[in-house]
């Protein structure tokens, strides 16, 4: 079933059914993995070049190697299915179309790191998809491929239990330390790092957190081999990746393609171009926290982390948002700033206050009440959040604001009122409010 580029979402009907999954070679990769030592499994993932699909692109095999060896204390695996970064809707496809490959990936990862318990954290809004995943986990228990019975099914003495945990609406829970607090039953405030989760994670024990797509990719690596996987896509960011394309395209969709696929190929060939044949003003390459690219610079852009980094942006969650020539950039920036302000947990002053400021200034800009110096103020506020916070939500809020100003300064300027206007004194005088209008506008 594994033919590139359809490694995570193979083109097999009804693959969500465990019988179909097994009839197509499902749960065979785990058998391969347990014939290796745990170090060999980790080495295989390292050689594949797999990097995390949750946004930060961290090398997966390396992350696994940070986990302490030995079984003197419990260790945990947390699968991040919070998928709340605006523009991201790809992990949902795995819950719906290939949940058993995620489970098999968990088994292989768990075996490699000596973990006996995994949690799949799914955002609360995904009610239906939580049920799908729960059903798949139940099927896996019933078939004896996970839990105690997997020892007899596959041989060996390794077993893992899987619990599906449903969130309840808070973007911050996608941040890995916040996710751990949420799982433990506390308010989901991000934790300081260090200590890093590999040393002190869930319930103070060594923990690895990986994105859904990252783990669902693992069985495919064992199926085709690490070297074959590494030869797909861009050399520094290998393999296939799920792109989610939304906004102004004719066929918005999730599509699995090799990393490094040209952006224009994705937009025009796979997604049918822009409605009405309009031109593209801007795109966001990987979820709303990633700095945008201008429409006139997307020719030749390759969609992998190393290529995008050279352009000052990142692959993030590979959620591509396309905006046509009529898009109001100030409004988009305001909407993004409003989101991060709403989702800031409020622990750090630069994030809490800065996000509020950015929204306020953008609101004034949107309403034509700001001046050109406010744009600089906005840029400075964003710069002061960046790098000064406990978690990366602060950066996530700052980057798009800075990016949109850098790339579309003219659009912001066009919305400003003149810096200083003496005539305005008279206007104020001429429009002086009476007491009654003041009352009616302030209540």
């Amino acid at each position: 079933m594994y033919t590139a580029p359809h490694l995570v979402l193979p083109k097999v009907d009804n693959l969500r059914d465990i019988n179909v999954y097994m009839a197509n070679g499902g749960y065979e990769q785990y058998k391969k993995a347990i014939r290796m030592t745990s170090d060999e499994v980790i080495d295989t993932v390292k050689r594949s070049g797999l990097r995390g699909r949750g946004g930060a692109c961290f090398p997966t095999g390396l992350k696994w190697s940070f986990m302490p060896k030995g079984n003197d204390k419990p260790k945990y695996l947390a699968i991040n299915g919070d998928e709340s970064e605006p523009g991201s809707f790809k992990d949902r496809q795995i819950f719906e179309y290939n949940p058993h490959q995620l489970i098999e990936g968990i088994m292989i990862a768990g075996y490699a790191m000596g973990i006996a318990k995994a949690f799949i954290y799914i955002r609360g809004e995904y009610h239906a998809w939580v049920s799908m995943m729960e059903k798949a986990v139940q099927e896996a228990y019933d078939k004896g491929v996970i839990g105690e019975r997997m020892k007899t099914t596959f041989g060996g003495d390794y077993a893992i239990d899987i619990v599906v945990h449903k969130g309840a609406g808070a973007y911050i829970c996608g941040e890995e330390t916040s996710l751990m607090n949420s799982l433990e039953g506390d308010r989901a405030y991000p934790r300081f790092k260090p200590p890093f989760p590999a040393n002190k994670g869930l319930w103070g024990m060594p923990t690895t957190i990986n994105n859904v797509e990252t783990i669902a990719t693992v069985p495919a690596i064992f199926a085709i081999g690490a070297e074959a996987y590494a030869s797909i896509g861009a050399p520094g960011h290998t393999g296939t990746i799920l792109f989610g394309i939304s906004g102004h395209v004719n066929k918005p969709q999730v599509i699995e393609l090799p990393t490094g696929t040209p952006l224009t190929e994705i937009i025009y060939d796979h997604c049918g171009g822009v409605p009405g044949g309009k031109r593209i003003k801007a795109i966001i390459p990987g979820g709303s926290s990633m700095p945008p690219l201008r429409g006139d610079e997307i020719d030749g852009v390759l969609m992998d982390e190393e290529s995008l980094k050279k352009l000052g942006t990142h692959i993030g969650t590979a959620g591509i948002m396309v905006m046509d020539e009529d898009t109001d950039i100030v409004k988009v920036t305001l909407r993004i700033a409003r989101f991060y302000h709403h989702e800031s947990c409020g622990q750090c002053t630069p994030c809490r206050e800065g996000c509020g400021w950015m929204e306020k200034v953008l609101h004034r800009l949107d309403h034509g009440e700001a001046t050109s110096s406010d744009i600089d103020l906005l840029y400075n506020v964003a710069s002061n959040i960046e790098g000064n916070t406990i978690c990366a939500l602060g950066d996530a809020a700052a980057w798009p604001v800075k990016g949109f100003i850098e790339k579309f300064r003219d659009e912001f300027e066009a919305r400003c009122k003149p810096e200083r206007s003496f005539i305005s004194l008279n206007v104020v005088h001429g429009r002086r409010n009476t007491a009654s209008t003041l009352v009616s506008t302030t209540v």
Binding site: F89, E184, S288, G319, H342
Partner: protein
């Protein structure tokens, strides 16, 4: 009405607690159970959750108020959620929100007097490929139109 889980629900809660190394972690699934049963998390409900979870009320309240999906006041039987985040905004999400607020005559996070409907402007729901999207209770409606919204609201108001 006295607030308490049935014996069967309490058994389910014990099972939930046993899934985690520390039973406190079951608070989110138990709050979900409570919300399904009582519609929203009143102070009495949160106190009862605290009792069955062996957790102080202040902790339960702290957790419940952290998350937007736990209702801290009664919401409509049909909770209409409209996404206005970027991908939905680009494809008309705000028009849908305006339409539903006008049609129902209530604002964001409010419920109609008959308790039938409530409205919430939501952040990205992970359905951007089907933008604009709305959700009614737990069901997503993607590529939503004003006509479809009207049809859904009409159908809901007689159900």
């Amino acid at each position: 009405m006295s607030i308490s889980f049935t014996a069967e629900e309490l058994r389910k809660i014990d099972e939930l607690k046993s899934r985690y190394p520390d039973s406190k972690a079951a608070i989110m699934p138990v709050l979900w159970m409570a919300q399904h049963k009582w519609g929203w998390l009143s102070e009495d409900v949160m106190r009862h959750v605290g009792d069955v979870m062996n957790l102080p009320y202040a902790h339960v309240k702290g957790v419940a108020t952290f998350y937007t999906m736990y209702f801290k006041k009664p919401m409509g039987r049909h909770h209409v959620q409209v996404c206005t985040n970027v991908s939905c905004m680009l494809r008309g999400g705000e028009k849908l929100l305006d339409h539903v607020t006008q049609r129902l005559g209530i604002g964001n996070n409010e419920a109609t007097a008959d308790g039938l409907f409530s409205i919430e402007e939501v952040e990205c729901m992970g359905a951007c490929g089907g933008a604009p999207m709305i959700a009614i209770n737990e069901t997503f409606y993607e590529n939503a139109t004003i006509e479809e919204l009207d049809r859904l609201l009409s159908a809901a108001s007689v159900s």
